[in-house]
């Protein structure tokens, strides 16, 4: 028993080595930084969480877009750069015409989402066809094809726009005329104009309110998933309904702008209600089926403790009106969009299509034999990924406020891949938990690297950027390498048996 326990711990550590490593780096960075440049932890934490919340939602769609290809056995889709390129092309087109049309920010944003959809589907379809031709080497092919696509993109926007296609020289996104009086190509940086913050700034709520809402959502998720296992009754739907009521109440209360304490109480009641649901359903089920025991106790209790902890932390900060209330407000509308996507993807994975993804990911051969069109499924997975990446890029850019025409897309693939790997995903296993853990941990890491660089190398300029990139590329190499090594070792030990 003891032996198996220690083995289980060992296996757990090996499985989660990357997550643990990065958690360690983030914690080390925060503690050793001594409060950053100002040397004041209050200021440091305020800026840390403000940065974190912005970055997490800026990159959320991009990172989640990697999930489906992993499940479908394509590995990490470095080709999401192509989705980003689709989005950027559409945004450049819109920015060009915006000069004459003068749409509102949100209209332009929605139009960008709408127009990038067909383009991303087309690109995703082509990428998927390519992946079918390079089975087993999708990752390197994805990387190379993204460089290829970037080359075509550069050719179009540096040369064809202006040289082949007539453009208005006075348009602010077109590069100023050169010595020959030719206005060729798009500027290096394009301002996003009214699209800046088009969705982020619709509703912003205080960070602590947001944490409270997260706690309620998480509690509801626990109840829903846990109770669904034994109860197919409609009554379970009471739990999300109740969560929805409380969240709306908090948001509305925040909009009215009075009495934070009431909102804190609402948050507390929201989580408490969910816990009551959990207890009620479990006990009722246990009364009806006396031999029922709760499975996966460890993760269930961990989740419960985590969400109650989040709630208590928020309630404390709100009631005591601590410095945490000065953290930058969270983009609620973007979060809502992310939540919708989250639910949508959870739903997709339960449909026939989702099962096909899983089957193909498990074994292409068995999937083929059992009548699944493997090639088609893989193409659909790539299209999903590319479309989500395109939308993710639109969200990313509306948050950034400027489009670096020839650079914005370049790092998208690597940073998103690093984020999902930091969250504990591998080339064949990724879930929504990996996405969220990765988003938070990876961006915490990128925020604290300048501090770590300062501790080790002093105030030399540039080193922080080198260290950050070293970590990004190092983590991808390490995570992929460890995974392949583990798989090889497992297959070897199987062979020797």
């Amino acid at each position: 028993m003891n032996n198996s326990n220690s083995e289980r711990i060992k296996a757990f550590l090996l499985d989660n080595i990357v997550v643990i490593l990065f958690l360690g780096i983030a914690i080390f960075g925060i503690t050793a930084s001594g409060g950053g440049i100002t040397g004041n932890y209050t200021v440091y934490f305020i800026s840390f969480f403000s940065e974190l919340i912005e970055r997490v939602f800026r990159n959320s769609f991009l990172v989640i877009s990697l999930m489906i290809p992993v499940i479908a056995g394509l590995g990490l889709n470095f080709g999401i750069v192509i989705g980003a390129i689709a989005a950027q092309s559409v945004i450049l087109l819109l920015r060009y015409h915006q000069f004459y049309l003068e749409m509102s920010g949100i209209a332009e944003f929605l139009l960008a989402l709408l127009l990038s959809l067909p383009l991303a589907i087309l690109f995703g379809w082509l990428t998927g066809k390519l992946y079918n031709k390079v089975r087993g080497q999708e990752m390197i092919a994805g990387m190379i094809v993204s460089y290829f696509a970037a080359g075509v993109y550069n050719l179009v926007f540096l040369f064809i726009v202006g040289y082949v296609i007539e453009v208005d020289k006075l348009n602010p996104i077109i590069a100023p005329a050169n010595l020959e009086g030719l206005a060729v190509g798009v500027r290096m940086t394009v301002d996003m104009g009214v699209m800046t913050g088009a969705i982020d700034n619709i509703i912003r709520i205080p960070f602590m309110f947001f944490i409270m809402i997260c706690a309620i959502t998480m509690a509801c998720y626990i109840v829903f998933t846990q109770v669904r296992k034994f109860n197919r009754d409609r009554k379970v739907l009471l739990s999300p309904l109740c969560a929805l009521v409380f969240i709306t109440a908090i948001v509305v209360w925040n909009g009215l702008g009075s009495m934070n304490r009431v909102a804190a109480v609402l948050g507390f009641l929201g989580v408490a209600a969910q816990m009551c649901f959990l207890l009620y359903f479990t006990f009722r089920h246990k009364r009806e089926n006396p031999d029922y025991t709760v499975q996966n106790k460890a993760s269930l209790s961990f989740n419960c403790v985590l969400c109650s902890g989040m709630m208590l932390w928020a309630v404390y900060n709100i009631i005591m009106n601590t410095f945490m209330m000065r953290v930058r407000q969270a983009p609620f509308a973007t979060a809502l969009l992310f939540a919708v996507l989250f639910i949508f993807l959870s739903y997709i994975m339960k449909t026939k299509l989702g099962q096909d993804f899983r089957a193909v990911g498990q074994s292409q051969h068995i999937a083929e034999v059992s009548g699944i069109n493997v090639k088609r499924t893989r193409i659909i997975a790539t299209i999903f990924s590319t479309v989500l990446a395109a939308w993710g890029m639109v969200i990313f850019l509306q948050n950034m406020g400027t489009l670096t025409t020839y650079d914005s897309h370049r790092h998208v693939g690597f940073f998103s891949v690093a984020a999902i790997l930091v969250g504990g995903a591998s080339t064949s296993r990724a879930n929504l938990r990996n996405v969220i853990t990765g988003l938070i941990l990876f961006h915490a890491m990128t925020i604290v690297t300048p501090d770590i660089a300062r501790i080790f190398f002093g105030d030399t300029p540039g080193v922080a950027e080198y260290l950050r990139s070293f970590m990004v590329y190092g983590v991808i190499g390490l995570a992929l390498g460890l995974y392949v090594w583990k798989t090889l070792k497992a297959s070897q030990s199987q062979n020797s048996l």
């Binding site: 390519l130 390079v134 540039g462 190092g474």
Partner: protein
């Protein structure tokens, strides 16, 4: 009737012998040269540029041969070898060598560094069989970023290396300062009607090719190839497949390091920091254009591929500048050709890498 059949047969065999992408890129290169001549770009300078780049970048592409033959696939971790070359050159300057002494000591030091690091790299590649290409790419990049940090903090003291103000090494280290600019390029060189032939450098490249060719024909080399073609069979025949893969990785890294020294002396300065980042793709694309696949490559592929691809890259810039002044298309075009060709090779690879 007979003759027609004969001619179609020979055409068929010719087409099957000459790779389609080789032909396409060759035609593209000639087309660019013709465009250049039409637009008053001097043909002699175009040929000089092509030959210069051919000599300067040849060895970097040659580094792909042992790694492809050993079954690890193209060496996408070439930046690691290149960083060893940079380190060797910087150390040689630090130790006070100049001119030919610098060149020889640089090469020796880089070879030593590359052997040590190549050994570790070989072990890594054995641990990740099946996904070598992706992991090699990342290891290579991580190594470049690691050394970018180290260039800032390593305790080099020579003033020709350090930034005049602040900490760390210069971005570009001029080799004119140690009389080593074009040292190999200019040796034994001559002009024919304005076409500059860097005989020393070309000869050195051919010498490397010859050595690799000899090595691949030696007992060890054949064992490496056997391990790459069919690892199960080679293992059953009593060959140490994993150990041979390590040797091939080391040789590849050594060639990468030596190639960097040659490259630096040709262009007259050592570029530190992010310079090696994308070189693996350039080197791989050149071999692929020569007709290599991710499973098989030989010296002919290297020589043909490097000549065509580097000739094309060298000539695209002046021609594009003459035709479309003020635009920036050569880089985009080169990226398209380079990555297009690697994709083509990946698509036509049979099976995964290294399995």
């Amino acid at each position: 009737m007979d003759t027609v059949e004969k001619s179609t047969f020979s055409l068929k065999s010719l087409v099957s012998r000459i790779n389609v992408p080789t032909l396409i890129v060759l035609v593209f290169w000639i087309f660019i040269m013709i465009l250049g001549v039409i637009n008053n770009v001097s043909l002699t300078s175009m040929i000089t540029d092509s030959i210069g780049r051919f000599g300067a970048l040849g060895i970097l592409s040659l580094a792909m041969v042992p790694s492809i033959q050993s079954g690890t696939g193209p060496n996408f971790a070439l930046p690691i070898g290149m960083v060893c070359g940079l380190l060797g050159m910087v150390c040689a300057i630090q130790f006070g060598f100049t001119s030919w002494g610098w060149l020889i000591i640089s090469i020796l030091l880089s070879v030593v560094f590359a052997c040590i690091i190549g050994y570790g790299y070989g072990i890594l590649m054995n641990a990740v069989k099946g996904s070598e290409m992706t992991i090699a790419t990342y290891t290579g990049w991580a190594f470049v970023w690691l050394f970018s940090m180290l260039w800032v903090i390593l305790p080099f003291t020579d003033l020709r290396l350090r930034l005049p103000l602040g900490q760390g090494l210069r971005q570009d280290i001029q080799l004119a300062g140690i009389n080593a600019r074009n040292i190999l390029t200019n040796s034994l060189s001559f002009d024919i009607n304005g076409i500059f032939i860097p005989t020393g450098m070309i000869l050195f490249f051919f010498l490397c090719c010859f050595l690799v060719w000899m090595f691949m024909r030696s007992k060890k080399g054949i064992a490496i190839t056997a391990g790459g073609t069919n690892p199960m069979f080679a293992g059953a025949a009593g060959l140490h497949v994993n150990r041979n893969r390590i040797y091939a990785g080391m040789l590849s890294m050594v060639l990468g390091a030596v190639g960097t020294v040659i490259y630096a002396q040709h262009f007259g300065f050592i570029q530190l920091y992010l310079f090696p980042m994308m070189f693996a793709f350039i080197a791989v694309a050149a071999v692929m254009i020569g007709g290599a696949t991710v499973r098989r490559a030989n010296i002919t592929h290297v020589i043909v591929g490097v000549l065509i691809f580097q000739g094309l890259s060298a000539n695209m810039a002046p021609v594009a500048n003459a035709m479309f002044p003020g635009t920036d298309i050569p880089e985009a075009l080169r990226t398209i050709v380079q990555n297009g060709i690697i994709l083509y090779a990946l698509m036509h690879a049979k099976g995964g890498g290294g399995k």
